[in-house]
Subunit: 484 residues, 2 copies
């Protein structure tokens, strides 16, 4: 056993994400009681963890055909990774046992440390950190959900997807990590790894960021951060990582009230708003205020080719809807160029009944509910060199005949959009909106999946699309990559 | 037959909303073809129109047991209201026949008039208007969905609710009228009457506004307006009506591109942005950019008692979620006062495991998923005189055990909130968010209904709540009604 002290700048955390064996401490085999340790067992089983799994409880017994060990030291062979779900006062002894066993990483779900604001909490956190450092054990947490790595099968909820993706997510908050992993999956965004790191008494946001910077499986980083352990180091690493990969971040505790809540939540010092704003601006971090906008940003960065500029063309259904869309895009900083007369004539020749329809930009294709009719309109607008990006709107509730478009009609329209997307190089996006019942929401999710598979970003409101695409453009404008 | 010329200032449109008989012109009895006239028949039947109904078509025949007349003049007895679904070139003769028959109102769904931008379209519109005025017939439209009045059974979509409410909605756009009537119903907002008035060649936005100002069944007015016929008159009436009833409005065509689309859509001249902004500000119209925000505004005005000020207390589930909520409320202009030490101690004595929880403001009740546990916390915060409004957050996806809270858990939590709402006078609102699948959306809709029935406004994101409540407060602040 070697004694590892914390070394900055060389954060190879491979062993955090690739354990060959996992012990879950604090498990209850009594199915009638809610037991978070058992949830971890279910989570890694359903995520196809292929290594050895050891449930641990002082009560012993058996669960899901697995022997429950009474102490990690009794586990035969090597042990890489331990998930600690026992109360805080028992944690120091567990870390000692883990050190003796040669465990590399202990993740502590356990709360009741520095975040509780008491002297005892702070003392206990310092104690486990010291034991871990002396014993060569790295700690994740305490007070966090831990690690999700679909490739190796680490997970913290049984319903998390098994699919890996190219986005890494780090979150100081467990609840946000939980919701956002699900939200991202629903939006077709999958993770290379996600880390909910809570109080970060050992492995902290800087360590993880530094690791992700070099991680070949991660192309982009999403982060929810309340406060940092070492401002200087974080600042240096953030500057490096943002040079290599886009980073989208929610800074939790941007306000006095938010910061107060963050202090109770993860013991984080939220830091000065001005310092944070300066850092985020300087490093080109894409800063967002909500998790939904974080998801919109990821969808955009993953799927939208970089438009040459802000000239936006839009095609939708419904006169008033089209007017409102145009107004909101312009308010968000886009330009909606008028289409050339010749092109308007062309559109007029395509659309059989053009009464009451705008065939300029925005284009209104009301009444065209079959892909065969929609295709030539979308194609014509996509082919026009005077627009940099084309956004297609599918409002599900707009006509008298259907309270909400049946899925067949919606997908037939989208087939035409997808066909144009496949045939041209124009950056394209789709907005599916107007949900008035549970059915329309399900239709929207299914339609979204169809577009995702074709690589087209989908948003659920015009303002979501406008904000996300605007952020994407600003990111690239700031990097001087725009030619238009 | 008396000749009615347009008289301003005496717009009694009772006969528009209370016809004793309706003829629908242009009906097809062939069930295999989509026929909008037939949809009107279905719409008024399903809305329980109790007057006489006469389908009309040159082809004659029968539909749903009703004789199809070949001309409105052949209909026996009096005829009040005609819905015109035949092509534009046939409209002048129909209006002549209606005048001869003594019809009071003709609504023209028919498009192809001034909005198509041609000389012929403008000529045709002038022609029908002149015939109507000479014949004492009022026109709604052309190029619009017409009138929805659940009390008398006029309607323009078969799925519209039969319930009446206290909000009137006027919309220059038919599609927006369609979607918004459904969206409002989903949000528990019902209409006294809705008018989609399109090109407004005779009855225009000013006439309807003036009527609604005096309508005892209307407490509040929502509007989607692209352009007005007579700016001076509109401005005068808007000033009057806003003194009596709140008016929430989307101004369509706020931008050059939006205005261009509006011109094609309803032939409206969108007018100068500056003039509009000045008018809306001067009259205290609540201006919103999207239909979703229009719905949020109505929900707020209908259900939220006027808070004494901007001191907001918030209770939620999840540390990170609570931090993000606090930040967003503060960014939207609210103040989140710190709770007194004594009260924090009280909360700490109520919440059994307070580890990692903020029990200040925002309050985090993670782990309290039973109404019995939630009630005392909500009650304590509601009772605190240092806050003016209490917003409760129910994020549906936040814990590992459920990908989304089962409805039973969600409603048990909300029961506690509703109980406090019933027992206290504190203005309260609920945010239900974190939707990651179709099921969670359905749970949200059901939970919303529960709160609606209790008279608590519900929003589906923190930013929706923050924007809507902020608009509501600004409305009352501008009227000097706040004491705090």
């Amino acid at each position: 056993m070697t004694i590892t002290t914390k070394v900055t700048g060389t954060a190879n955390l491979d062993y955090v994400f690739n354990p060959e064996s996992v012990a879950i401490v604090g498990i209850s085999s009594n199915g009638n009681e809610i037991n978070v340790a058992r949830l971890y067992l279910e989570a890694i089983l359903s995520c196809n963890f292929e290594g050895r799994i050891y449930p641990v409880s002082t009560r012993g017994g058996e669960i899901q055909g697995l022997k429950i060990y009474t102490n990690v030291r009794d586990i035969p062979g090597s042990l890489d990774y331990v998930i600690c779900c026992i109360p805080a006062p028992s944690a120091p002894q567990l870390i000692k046992d883990c050190a003796a066993k040669g465990v590399k990483v202990v993740h502590l779900l356990t709360a009741g440390f520095s975040e509780d604001g008491t002297e005892e909490g702070r003392r206990l956190e310092a104690e486990i950190r010291d034991i871990a450092r002396q014993g060569g054990v790295r700690l994740i947490g305490p007070n966090c959900m831990g690690v999700y790595c679909p490739k190796t099968g680490l997970s913290f909820a049984p319903d998390f997807p098994r699919e890996s993706g190219s986005v890494a997510f780090i979150s100081q908050s467990g609840g946000n990590a939980m919701y956002f992993t699900r939200l991202a999956a629903q939006r077709g965004v999958y993770f290379s790894k996600a880390v909910s790191y809570g109080n970060a008494c050992d492995v902290d946001e800087s360590d993880v960021l530094e690791y992700l910077m070099a991680d070949p499986e991660t192309d982009m980083i999403a982060a929810y951060i309340e406060g940092v352990k070492d401002g200087k180091r974080f600042s240096r690493i953030l500057k490096e990582v943002t040079r290599m990969k886009p980073v989208v971040m929610i800074k939790g505790g941007r306000t006095e009230a938010g910061g107060r809540a963050a202090a109770s939540h993860t013991g984080a010092l939220a830091g000065s708003v001005e310092v944070w704003n300066g850092l985020l601006r300087q490093t080109g971090v894409i800063s967002v205020p909500t998790l939904e906008e974080l998801a919109d940003a990821l969808v955009t960065f993953l799927h939208l080719p970089v438009p040459q500029g802000r000239r936006l063309g839009t095609i939708g259904i419904g006169g008033g809807a089209t007017v409102v869309a145009a107004d909101n895009y312009v308010s968000a900083g886009f330009v909606l160029p008028s289409l050339p007369q010749e092109m308007q004539r062309k559109l007029r020749s395509i659309v059989p009944s053009d009464v009451g329809l705008s065939l300029n930009n925005p284009v209104d294709i009301s009444g065209q509910f079959e892909g065969a009719d929609v295709y030539p309109v979308v194609r014509a607008v996509a082919d026009y060199s005077g627009i940099d990006i084309l956004v297609f709107h599918l409002p599900l509730s707009i006509v008298p005949i259907f309270s909400s478009f049946p899925e067949g009609i919606a997908t037939s329209i989208l087939d035409a959009v997808i066909r144009v997307h496949n045939e041209t190089t124009k950056p394209m996006a789709v907005v599916i909106n107007n949900f008035t019942d549970g059915e329309s929401w399900q239709t929207a999710l299914n339609c979204q999946r169809k577009c995702q598979e074709a690589g087209i970003p989908v948003y659920f409101s015009i303002n979501s699309a406008a904000s996300a695409i605007d952020r994407f453009l600003r990111y690239h404008e700031n990097r001087g990559r725009l030619t238009g």
